[in-house]
């Protein structure tokens, strides 16, 4: 028995492509503790989204396994809710109905109805959606739509919340508001969270630990604890602190090193005839 909530062990994933097969992930292993907030970052093509989808059970591994509470993941399930970047809300349901959607599914029928309704109401309140509870998704801004998606995922009381670049399509200001909101939600709803992002500052600000993946084929490059204060003690000023900037800078440099950008620059110099200093 291990104390970890999620164990990723020797995980690999190959996709069939016209040229044969493409290895998205090769032998990835690490563990995530219960209640931990882990961010997955890495250069494009490192397989961070694939890894998240394997944890969700939306893809099946080519090798290795994902264990949730020591049981292997065989497919998607209500214990692991996912928040997508966009287009996941149901346009024919209003905000309140979207949030309550999981309660109407057969798998969740055993849940107490009154408790479900109360939980929906509280989540709508907590996510600042009370004013738009009757509105339909197409009338909402991108930021508001993501609040609904997060509320809908939390409604089902999942053990693990998986987030696939949830703020990737939002502008910088809205993203800051969402960061505060997420930390706020975390304080009242402690869950295990796996969060994929391409924004290193976002990862450092929100998470307890950052897993840097390297591309070609996707593998764990390095793991960085962020040593952040508790969720509610974090403020936007923290992002200006030397320790914060230093950590973010080092992680970004590490990602650059794994991305093969150095050889690209060498090729560019040859192309433009500029002598390297």
């Amino acid at each position: 028995m291990s104390a970890a909530k999620l164990v990723i062990r020797g995980l690999s994933k190959r996709f069939a492509v016209p040229q044969g097969s493409f290895t998205a992930l090769a032998d990835v292993s690490f563990e995530i503790a219960a209640g931990e907030f882990v961010a997955l970052v890495g250069a494009s093509g490192c397989g961070k989204s694939t890894l998240l989808r394997l944890i969700a059970g939306l893809e099946s591994p080519s090798g290795g396994e994902v264990l949730l509470d020591d049981r292997p993941v065989r497919g998607p399930g209500r214990d692991r809710a996912m928040v997508f970047q966009d287009y996941s809300l149901y346009p024919w349901l209003n905000v309140a109905e979207n949030v309550a959607f999981s309660g109407s599914l057969r798998a969740n029928r055993r849940r107490d109805r009154a408790r479900c309704a109360e939980r929906s109401r509280l989540l709508i309140e907590l996510m600042g959606l009370a004013r738009v509870a009757e509105a339909y998704p197409h009338t909402l801004s991108g930021g508001m739509r993501q609040r609904v998606a997060i509320a809908r995922a939390l409604q089902n009381e999942p053990d693990v919340l998986l987030m696939d670049e949830p703020f990737g399509a939002l502008d910088a200001q809205t993203r800051e508001v969402m960061h505060e909101l997420i930390l706020h939600v975390l304080a009242s709803e402690r869950r295990t969270i796996v969060f994929v992002t391409h924004d290193v500052e976002e990862a450092v600000y929100l998470s307890d630990r950052i897993v840097v993946l390297a591309p070609g084929p996707g593998r764990v490059d390095s793991i960085w604890p962020t040593d952040q204060p508790p969720a509610l003690a974090r403020t936007q000023e923290l992002k200006q602190s030397a320790a914060f900037l230093n950590l973010a800078g080092r992680i970004r440099a590490r990602i650059r090193e794994t991305s093969g950008l150095q050889s690209d620059l060498a090729a560019l110099r040859r192309l433009t005839g500029i002598k390297s200093p």
């Binding site: 399930g77 692991r80 346009p91 024919w92």
Partner: protein, 259 residues
């Protein structure tokens, strides 16, 4: 006028009415000028007079009624079969692999060429008209509906699965529900084709209906009556199209409609 420039609904209606009036005026002027033999091109007034006499003395309404019934029956039969099959094809790749080659082949079969076979199989009764409309619309409808279902955004499906939805729930409560506006559009578009095949069926084997009336008018060189038949079919089509568009707006206010 700018590319993709805005146009208010009032001005849209104004331009549409102006276009209708202009074309009718051209028609009237051409017919009145005497350049064209009235046998080839009866004027608007002659057509109106014929429409009036056909309604009052004849059986225009009876013909229109029987034609509408045939189209409705054939179209509903197609739709009732095409929606579930299209849903399954759009949802499950193996079902698509099984059905698609046959459908792609069948939809290029000229429905009109099936007239002799249909007469042989179903006889000359109402069944033959319904069968011809079915042949003309079903295959196209299945393919289009399967595309409508396949276009449902993947995150909608995957979000449902991570919330605990069973396959049947994803199928009916996400895929079908999400694709409904597009399916209604598909039905609206194929309804127009159903009218085409109705007229073909009535031209070949019928003793009632608007298509049959047009054929009979041809025998007696009543070109004004042919015009009335064509215009009545056009107006029925325009009417049902507007009705379905209004239904689309009322039922699915969140979804944009295809034109």
């Amino acid at each position: 006028m700018r590319i993709r420039g805005a146009l208010g609904s009032r001005r849209y209606l104004g331009i549409a009415i102006a276009s209708f009036v202009a074309w009718t005026a051209c028609w009237w002027a051409l017919a009145a000028s005497g350049w064209v033999d009235p046998l080839f091109l009866p004027g608007p007034l002659a057509v109106l007079r014929r429409a009036y006499r056909w309604t009052v003395d004849g059986d225009l309404l009876v013909d229109a009624r029987i034609s509408i019934l045939r189209v409705t029956a054939g179209f509903l039969l197609s739709a009732l079969m095409a929606v579930p099959l299209g849903l399954l094809i759009g949802a499950y790749r193996p079902v698509r692999a099984f059905c698609e080659p046959l459908l792609e082949f069948a939809r290029y079969l000229p429905a009109v060429a099936f007239v002799p076979m249909v007469l042989l199989w179903v006889g000359i009764g109402e069944g033959s008209k319904i069968a011809l409309i079915w042949i003309g619309t079903f295959f196209q409808m299945v393919i289009m509906i399967s595309e409508d279902v396949a276009r449902v955004p993947l995150p909608q499906i995957e979000a449902a699965r991570t919330l605990g939805a069973a396959d049947s729930e994803v199928l009916l409560r996400v895929l079908l529900r999400s694709a409904l506006p597009a399916i209604l559009d598909t039905l609206r578009i194929t309804l127009g084709w159903a009218w085409t095949y109705l007229v073909v069926a009535e031209l070949v084997a019928a003793n009632s209906g608007l298509g049959y009336a047009i054929l009979k008018a041809q025998r007696f060189l009543q070109t004004d009556k042919i015009f009335v038949g064509i215009i009545v079919i056009g107006m029925i089509g325009l009417g049902t199209d507007q009705l379905l568009r209004a239904a689309h707006r009322a039922l699915f206010p969140w979804a944009a409609s295809r034109t």
